[in-house]
Symmetry: C2
Subunit: 254 residues, 2 copies
DNA sequence: CATTGTGAAGTGATTCACAGCA
DNA sequence: TGCTGTGAATCACTTCACAATG
């Protein structure tokens, strides 16, 4: 029970609910900050305050990793930080292969938080010949055509799809064929993959639309067209279409 | 509920569950594609296939907007697309002010999907004098110092924080003071805001850590390999941007 | 005695399964 | 006949509230 008595091995790393898992990195981040600030212990209430999460939830989340707190005192910052790292599997580095060197791919490649958090960029690829060979932060852009070779050579843990929607599925297929089974998708399209592959998506347009919805609600909402919305006709002038397939972007994979 | 009986106002635009709301943009996108492909009607099963969502869920989601399907047939693509647009409040444009013109801010400013989806970038600001005045796609980078003036002049619906973590809170405070009440945060830090302000965050490090976790699980466990069914996952959240606040501290017990 | 860890209750989302309708 | 719309059942997550305890 005593936090400092870690006989290594055992922790109920399995069974972590998805909702909890999604918050662990958040705790991990603030614990790192507390560690920098030389704070020795932290209570669930303080952690709640810092992460914007309810304190009962913090305690329940942490209890999924094991009993690492001390009643009446709180949690040892360094120790808890370590346990979360272990629970998240951050005790060894992960290699990341990024496909698509548009602004988004470049933002990722030069993300300073990467290295410090145990993520190593093993490649940044693009199909635009004009981009190939140029450097982005610490990495040099490679040719998308070499995806298979690079994947074979580096066995990346995670593949990032940062291409236009039109090429996303094909890039994804190639990553999967090359043995990548964790994919982070930034393209605004649904990727289809075999069951053993995990895809997470980050959809900027989606986030904005959700914000726009709430903004409208708050505004008191002007009830658009009360009675008569013509059925089965005319999507009026609004273009709310999905133009990203139109690819007005720079060249990425083909 | 007979579909044609919309006597009063319009649709039950209120009461939309958060989980449903998060999927509406997804339906909206594929409906746009179907519209392009001149597909006239679509069933919940087809929509499910295209979005990676279970068909019962599709039907329940759509039922929150109203009864817009036809039994035995399906949904009229154009009409449903319109209803979702309306439900999401996309019938009029939203203006977006982006603060931080690093790779991420630039990626957002030049995001092709923006304009076509009704989002108008009214400003892209940075504090680096070397950046101010340069153009990014259709917009010219302005000085962060002008945030208040610009916000007053344009009353942006949404503010985007794409700065390093260290300045995120102060930028956020300034946006809020200037009257912005919907904020999209890309900085890897928790923003504190008044109750009437909505913040959504996109946290890249978080997504990668979750992927790393599952990768680790897969590696250390019997691959519960099932059939090769298409798979689509949802997510939201990611954070990135250059300069992290130091703060990484991975593991290492005390 | 402050704070954890957790059963139990509460809330919300998903899935089932089928009645109702075009 | 085929597909929607939806009650009812199930599952997952959150919150409460308090006994356990260093």
């Amino acid at each position: 029970m005593s936090p400092q008595s870690h006989t290594s091995g055992s922790a109920p790393t399995r069974d972590i609910p998805a909702a909890t898992l999604a918050r662990l990195p958040l705790y991990h981040r603030v614990l790192g900050q507390l560690l920098d600030a030389k704070v020795a212990t932290v209570s669930s209430a303080e952690l709640a305050e810092l992460t914007g999460v309810n304190s009962a939830k913090v305690r329940k989340d942490l209890s999924h990793l094991g009993s690492y707190g001390v009643r009446g005192v709180g949690y040892d910052v360094a120790y808890l930080n370590y346990q979360i790292s272990r629970g998240l599997g951050l005790t060894h580095d992960s290699s990341v292969l990024i496909v698509g060197a548009g602004n988004l791919g470049r933002a990722l490649a030069s993300y300073a938080g990467f290295a410090s958090r145990g993520f190593r960029v093993v490649g940044l690829l693009d199909s635009d010949p004009g981009q190939v060979g140029t450097r982005v932060g610490p990495v040099t852009i490679g040719d998308s055509a070499t995806l298979e070779d690079l994947a074979a050579a580096t066995s990346p843990d995670i593949g990032v799809v940062a291409t236009p929607a039109a090429s996303a599925q094909s890039v994804c297929d190639r990553l999967v064929s090359a043995g990548v089974s964790s994919i982070l998708n930034f393209a605004p399209t649904v990727l289809t993959v075999p069951a053993h592959v995990e895809v997470r998506k980050v959809d900027l347009g989606l986030e904005l639309q959700i914000l726009a919805f709430h903004a409208q609600q708050r505004r008191g909402e002007a009830p658009t067209n009360g009675a008569g919305v013509p059925h089965a006709v005319d999507v009026s002038g609004l273009d709310l279409r999905d133009a990203e397939t139109g690819t007005s972007r720079r060249g990425v994979p083909a």
